[in-house]
């Protein structure tokens, strides 16, 4: 089928099998190796992308269901975005494989909840596995990002 994704703000037309998972299409057809698979069953959060504002496991989303929708990967988040900057400042990664999914999840979460408690942060990231075990610093990064985003709002 012909499928059009509004991918990171650019209309991207693809000739694909609609049953192919979005993860494989983004990796193999578009060449976005920042989108990475781990569990293959939508549980670990690594392959997270944002589809029409919702964090979505791209490993279990047939691309046909994303036709015409806004899809954001880590490339769609500016490099000076407070969440990205906060992850770097807090050293919230080791191998970095889960990091794009982690940042996208945190980004969407902070849009909804700009002033989260520690428990709310943990709950929001419960579906994102980091086997390196960077969780302590990931939580630090999300707290830091929340503060930076609030400061931005005040400044604006």
């Amino acid at each position: 089928m012909n499928c059009t994704l509004h991918l990171n703000g650019t209309e991207t037309a693809l000739g694909v099998d609609g049953k192919d998972m979005l993860l494989n299409v983004l990796r193999d057809e578009v060449g976005l190796t920042s989108v990475r698979g781990t569990c293959g069953i939508g549980l670990c959060g690594t392959c997270t992308v944002i589809v029409d504002g919702q964090t979505t496991a791209s490993c279990i989303l047939p691309v046909g269901l994303a036709d015409g929708k806004e899809v954001t990967t880590i490339e769609g988040v500016p490099s000076d975005d407070p969440v990205k900057v906060a992850f770097e400042k807090a050293n919230a990664f080791q191998c970095g494989y889960c990091t794009p999914g982690m940042i996208l999840t945190a980004r969407a979460f902070l849009d909804e909840n700009p002033d989260p408690t520690d428990d709310e942060i943990a709950e929001a990231l419960a579906g994102n596995i980091c086997r390196c075990g960077c969780y302590v610093k990931i939580a630090d990064a999300v707290r830091l990002a929340a503060g930076m985003l609030r400061d931005e709002k005040v400044a604006a």
Partner: protein, 699 residues
Amino acid sequence: MADPRSGGSLRYSQDVAVEGMWHARIVRSPYAHARVVSIDGSALPENTVLLTPDDVADLSMYGCQIRDEAVLSRGEARFVGDPVAVVAAPTRRLADAALALVEVDYEELPAVFGIEDAVADGAVLVHERHHVSENDAAYFGIRPVDGSNVCHRFRIRHGDVEAGFAQADVVVEETFTTDGAAHVPMEPHATLARWTDDGRLEVWSGTQTPFNVRMDLAAIFGVDQSRVRVVCPPMGGSFGAKTFVRLEGLAAATARKAGRPIKMVLDRAEEWQTLNRHPSRITVRLGAKADGTLVAKTVTCHADTGAYADCGPGVAQKMGFAAPGPYRIPNVHVDSHCVYTNAPPNGAYRGYGQMQSIWASERTMDIMADRLGIDPLELRLKNLLREGDAYATGEVMHDVAFEECLRNAAEAIGWNEGREGKGLCVLMKGMQTPSRASVAVDALEDGTYRVRCATVEMGQGARYAIRTMAAELLGVGVDDVSFPDPDTDVSPYDTRTTSSRSTHMMSRALVEAVRNLREDGRTGVGEVADQGGLDPDTGQGIASSHWHQGAAGAVVEVDEETGSMKVRHVHASVYAGKVVVRAAAELQNEGSIIMGLGTSLFESIDFADGQVMNANLSDYNVPSITDLPRITHDLVEREGAPVHGLGETALPPIPAAIGNALQSFGIRPRSLPMTPERILDAIDERDAQAGTRELEAAE
């Protein structure tokens, strides 16, 4: 400069692509032990390649410690998941489809599961004979027992244990077990192999052991090592999973038949069929005088290495030589065995067998403390190895920090404010010995420097640490030092990136490399070699040129109705000597603690007749952010001390610290993980014993 990890631009082993490559999938045995009768690829479409045992009949056996593996197992599958054929097609999707079209007929053979059955008289033999490998990972005097499933047995003979136990006022004996566990690196195993026009083999692979892989590939294909090139892009985690030959032989053999590059990336479920952590059974007998002085200890270890030895002999050996623990014990015997079964192979796993024996030995210390009526901290402090003491191997201990680490852990969990629900553990952990590290530093024309080094990056931060140390020696900024992917064609020899050795060894090799660069002006090579090793029959010698030292404390609560345990706080104290990159050191401590929590609480591979029943991340749980207790840790540094490796030290003490915290309630866990079912059993056992004592008192 933005970090490539936050922007998603870091490319891993699975992202390597070359012109004309095809994708391959592995046809795997559904039986734990079976002869392959026939392989039928007649249903395969054109534009596919099928690799069968006939295609690899000319290839040699391999194995990093025992030469027991053949590419495609020569038609005899020894575990559920053993590769019996490979299909390749132009895309991954076509390869997936082709996989379903290969028909294999098997004749099922008797199989053996579990340590007890594997060492029983008349057990099914997984391999008839055990040939010790020529690979340099088989350096330590491997002692297979022919005609049995034991592919290595290691001994420590120190003092006279009979005489020692005769002096003891109290003797405790307990048997402990640990279940198999999965590494679960976020990135699966990934390898790309191609043959160049002039007949060289080039492999891009996520591996911690580039030179060992090169050695084994050269042996498999019967070519000189110089005809094989291994390049190691960064890995999305490994934890020991990506060590020694995994997919490299299969990809190279398929590439040879296909006449084109072949890429292999495992499906998640295949990870559990590729390499796991050794299940173990360990019996400890410990004797002490009434005042707490330890006088004798015997330890018997069995490690289930699965169907192929891999580095299991080395794991069993380290399990054995860590078993005495960091104590002065005048009489020690250790017997450690590596045992074949028809399970998927088990190999290196963060801590390399030492978590298992530390669990057993440190639990025994608290059982002993209980019997003696001595505070577990005091019992440890009374017996700890101190500067200049000899270990059970005869080696003299230097740069000793056990007491400081143990006191830090005790203080962090408020040991002196009441010890209910609290537990401690102290450990010593060996580093790869003997080992050799070399590194080259080049001055480039643009005024910057390049480090050529075979230390691989898997998230542990080694490249940044090595760049930092090189920059310091060169007097430049870290951004002026580059570190391209390790490549056996250009990176000088290094034993491997394991056992938390790289930062320590490279810190020393770099000093010489930079000195030689200053003399040469263009390039400098530095090399350090640590001698040592143990007599495998007596365990005497140098087990570790450099000991990793640490301790942990845990605070738990338990619901005695349900057996559910809540870990409230874990603290790890690790001897760092000198910290190179603080954030990375903290991350290694935190990551080790969190992995240790998984091992302690719920990680377990569930087998049924050799089949892994939970080979997915729904049924096999790893810690998430919601599983964390309060986590604290410290890095002990000393003026003038060398750089100590930190990649694993905080993992092995976590299970025993938690188990000992349960022991403060009289609950005595003996098996890992400490699931609610096992805790309930231990509560029942405690209550039954209390009931028996009451009855005896009434009589």
